[in-house]
């Protein structure tokens, strides 16, 4: 019981002291979730219907008689870059 108490106390202490944030109030959870996510209109580059499969893009380009535009990055351009 004593060790459990100490461990809970330690966890509480860590929360209180080290990050300055102890909890998210229930009425603020959704607000904070929305604040972090992309805003409407923030990701304008997604107004382009990017495909994520080069081979499928080849098929589409051939059938529609259009050139391919490839956005190639080290790290996926629509992901973590």
């Amino acid at each position: 019981m004593r060790s459990k108490f100490l461990s809970l106390f330690g966890l509480f202490l860590a929360f209180s002291i080290t990050n300055g944030v102890d909890s998210i109030k229930p009425d603020q959870f959704e607000k904070l979730h929305s604040l972090i996510k992309p805003n409407a209109g923030e990701d304008k580059y997604m107004q382009i219907p990017w495909m994520i499969d080069l081979w499928e893009a080849r098929k589409k380009a051939a059938s529609e008689d259009r050139p391919i535009l490839l956005w190639e990055m080290d790290g996926h351009p629509l992901g973590c870059v």
């Binding site: 966890l11 860590a14 929360f15 080290t18 990050n19 300055g20 944030v21 102890d22 909890s23 998210i24 603020q28 959870f29 959704e30 607000k31 904070l32 979730h33 604040l35 972090i36 996510k37 992309p38 805003n39 923030e42 990701d43 304008k44 580059y45 997604m46 107004q47 382009i48 219907p49 990017w50 495909m51 994520i52 499969d53 080069l54 081979w55 893009a57 080849r58 098929k59 589409k60 380009a61 051939a62 059938s63 529609e64 008689d65 259009r66 050139p67 391919i68 535009l69 490839l70 956005w71 190639e72 990055m73 080290d74 790290g75 996926h76 351009p77 629509l78 992901g79 973590c80 870059v81």
Partner: protein, 330 residues
């Protein structure tokens, strides 16, 4: 920056949508894969200045025909440069002779074989969760969007968490009772902490090493039970630090975790996966310079993705090594 500068430009969006088949790819995989698609990509890239000498990057923006004739290549973020690039590519497209145009329209067969080492694919039943990080500032007992000098560094980042079906099914009790504590698979805890609680707001950051996870106390409990919906509540805290002395470490994240996961107990499907991680982040990586000085608030939000959208099927950044991603506890 391509998102912020080039492809956020309304004129560029218009030209691309009207004339091109747009595709976005990760060069790290494309330049390595040993299959027809990898060979095709390298054949296109090798017509330009970037030939990937020594296994190096071929990143940039390419315009080419479906049979692989390069029309234009540039690696610029400047919208004016890129607009000129698109116009030049369209001019080259218009100047193709009859034989070249015929070749560009030739039937493309299905890809017969892929190199599984470099084509991460969603296994059946995998839960895909969008993960967004954003720099924040404190304002009136709450938060507001943060500001930084790095172009686009104030925007929400994008990544995806993949949770295999046996892992997420294990978190849905068959006979849920309010207050019941659910064991979160250890591998999932380490996958989330090491690969998804990262500051990727300025590009590709270093992931956390196994030993950087100094604390990961996460508790998942049944909060409410109804006939068609069971709500689980996630509470906890994490401390990630490159050195054991987190007060003096070079890079770290000290944050609380709260979330709600809802599921249908009959269909055993997850309908909500909303998690917020909020706390102070500090430091930067070799490729993510320009962090705000000292410790400052970083928020990370998780929510269910829509795998019907191509962008939501982009693999997690950390999956470059499959086994490392799914076996993050090691």
């Amino acid at each position: 920056m391509g998102r912020e500068l080039t492809f956020a430009d309304s004129k560029i969006i218009e030209v691309v949508n009207k004339n091109f088949v747009p595709v976005a790819m990760d060069d790290w995989f494309q330049r390595r894969r040993q299959d027809a698609e990898g060979e095709f990509f390298r054949k296109v890239a090798d017509q330009g200045p970037r030939k990937g000498q020594g296994g190096g990057t071929r990143q940039g923006i390419y315009a080419f025909t479906a049979d692989g004739k390069l029309l234009q290549f540039r690696n610029s973020q400047d919208p004016d440069v890129m607009l000129a690039f698109l116009q030049s590519a369209l001019k080259a497209w218009g100047n193709l002779n009859a034989a070249e145009r015929k070749a560009a329209k030739a039937f493309v067969p299905d890809l017969q074989k892929i190199d599984p080492r470099y084509v991460p694919s969603l296994s059946k039943g995998t839960l895909v969760v969008n993960v967004h990080a954003r720099i924040l500032e404190k304002e009136n007992d709450f938060y507001c969007h943060g500001t930084c000098k790095f172009p686009g560094g104030n925007r929400a980042s994008h990544d995806h968490l993949w949770i295999r079906e046996p892992e997420w099914q294990a978190m849905l009790p068959m006979d849920p009772k309010v207050g019941h504590e659910i064991v979160i698979p250890e591998n999932l805890i380490y996958r989330i902490t090491r690969f998804h609680l990262i500051d990727n707001t300025r590009g590709e950051p270093p992931m956390w090493a196994r030993n950087d996870v100094r604390k990961a106390s996460l508790k998942l409990n049944v909060e409410s039970v109804m006939a068609n919906e069971v709500k689980l509540k996630l509470l906890g805290g994490i401390l990630l630090s490159t050195e054991s002395d987190s007060k003096n470490s070079k890079r770290g994240y000290d944050a609380i975790v709260q979330g709600v996961i809802s599921y249908d107990p009959i269909k055993r499907t997850i309908s909500k996966f909303n998690i917020v991680v909020i706390g102070d982040h500090w430091g930067e990586g070799s490729y993510t310079g320009g962090a705000r000085p000292g410790r400052s608030p970083l928020g990370i939000a998780f929510e269910l993705a829509d795998p019907a959208k191509p962008a939501d099927r982009v693999p997690p950044q950390a999956i470059r090594e499959f086994s490392g991603y799914f076996d993050a506890v090691r």
